[in-house]
């Protein structure tokens, strides 16, 4: 196992090789690796910039090519530092290019229970995994414009529905300030930080403990939940459906009504 980080973390103990990359130089490091696997020329100055020695990189490339099945796992250190989704895109490209030599995959490390399921369900229903706007009546995807932190910090939303998350505890302060300014609705098994600054809180049954359903594993395998307890609280599914049905009784927000296909083509 090869670990790449900007500092020695607890995971170093479990790693065979640790490479300490200079903060903010992930994109450069990945781009150099992409060049090296294809024997393209790189300069000493470019390698020096990453904080990793050329010998260590040559060793890494040899290990990657010698592997029968390589897997790259990446986390928020890559996706939330300078370069953001460009860093993730570079790593995914490296994984794709490695398949010219051997089998290789890349997978994001997920923190919360069913966040993979959210990706899968949004992809299935809209074609996009997150950061979606329906404001033209059809789904559009643009992280940075429609992603929550950006929307909140700019103040682009005037009502927030929060389910299975506690942004009031984790988001940057300007985002939390906007959450407190607009009416917020929270569905959660606990009264959370977000609930305290919300207009409406509804207590729901915790998924997997007393609410049945499906959750996706990090590698996109769906798992049935087997709740051990009964809950006197309703499930997220039931409450969300009832809110949706209450909205459906109101006239459609689009003046000309929703677009529908008259005949099946």
């Amino acid at each position: 196992m090869v670990l790449v980080d900007i500092r020695e973390t607890k995971s170093v103990k479990a790693a065979d090789v640790f490479l300490q990359v200079r903060p903010g130089k992930d994109f450069e490091l990945i781009t150099i690796l992409r060049a090296m696997i294809k024997d393209q020329p790189i300069s000493d100055a470019q390698v020096a910039e990453t904080g990793v020695s050329i010998e260590a990189l040559q060793d890494l490339v040899a290990r990657m090519k010698a592997a029968k099945f390589g897997a790259m796992f990446f986390g928020m250190g890559l996706s939330m530092t300078r370069g953001k989704h460009m860093n993730s895109a570079a790593l995914l490209t490296l994984a794709a290019e490695m398949n010219a030599f051997t089998k290789f995959v890349a997978m994001p490390m997920r923190g919360h229970g069913n966040v993979t399921g959210a990706d899968v369900i949004m992809r299935w229903q809209t074609g996009y995994p997150f950061g979606i706007s329906f404001n033209r009546g059809y789904p559009r995807y643009n992280p940075g414009e429609f992603s929550t932190v950006d929307v909140l910090v700019r103040g682009d939303t005037d009502c927030v529905f929060v389910i299975g998350a506690d942004p009031g505890a984790t988001m940057p302060q300007p985002a939390i300030d906007h959450l407190a300014r607009v009416p917020t609705i929270v569905l959660d098994p606990h009264v959370t930080h977000t609930s305290r600054l919300a207009k409406v809180h509804i207590t729901t049954a915790p998924a997997g403990i007393s609410a049945p359903g499906t959750a996706y594993r990090m590698d996109e395998i769906p798992m049935p939940l087997r709740p051990a307890l009964e809950s006197s609280y309703p499930t997220d599914e039931e409450v969300t459906r009832r809110i949706k049905e209450a909205i459906q009784t109101k006239p459609d927000w689009m003046v000309e009504g929703p677009q529908r296909l008259e005949t099946q083509v």
Binding site: G117, P139, I202, G208, A228, P234, K244
Partner: protein, 115 residues
């Protein structure tokens, strides 16, 4: 007292979603979570069926679920640009309802993934 045993229970605490947990539970709480890690054990054993929280809160005051649903629907409908956010610690079935609701509202839809 005999405990109900649930084989192949699924843990939704983190993204690993382990499905090889054996739970031993009575009517109010889970007493044992065999095969779960430290995080998973804490997740399963800390939940009970006791009602720690009111059914719903509107402006911090206790309310019924039906009232809260109506207020939520009104607020979301009246908003110019509502945002549906989160969907991590919930089921795929609830996520599907969230997508349908965001579509109906003509609003924004986003998850933890964008963080």
């Amino acid at each position: 007292m005999d405990l109900k045993v649930i084989d192949h229970a699924t843990c939704t605490f983190c993204g690993c979603v382990c499905d090889d947990i054996q739970l031993h539970a009575d009517d109010t709480r889970i007493h044992k979570a065999k095969g779960a890690c430290v995080l998973g054990k804490a997740w399963f054993l800390n939940h009970t069926t006791e009602r720690h929280y009111p059914a719903a809160l509107i402006d911090g005051k206790e309310a019924t679920v039906e009232e809260a649903i109506q207020v939520a629907a009104d607020l979301l409908y009246e908003a110019d640009m509502p945002l549906v956010y989160g969907m991590s610690n919930t089921t795929c079935e609830a996520q599907r309802e969230c997508v349908a609701m965001a579509d109906l509202l003509g609003g924004l839809l986003d998850s933890h993934t964008s963080l």
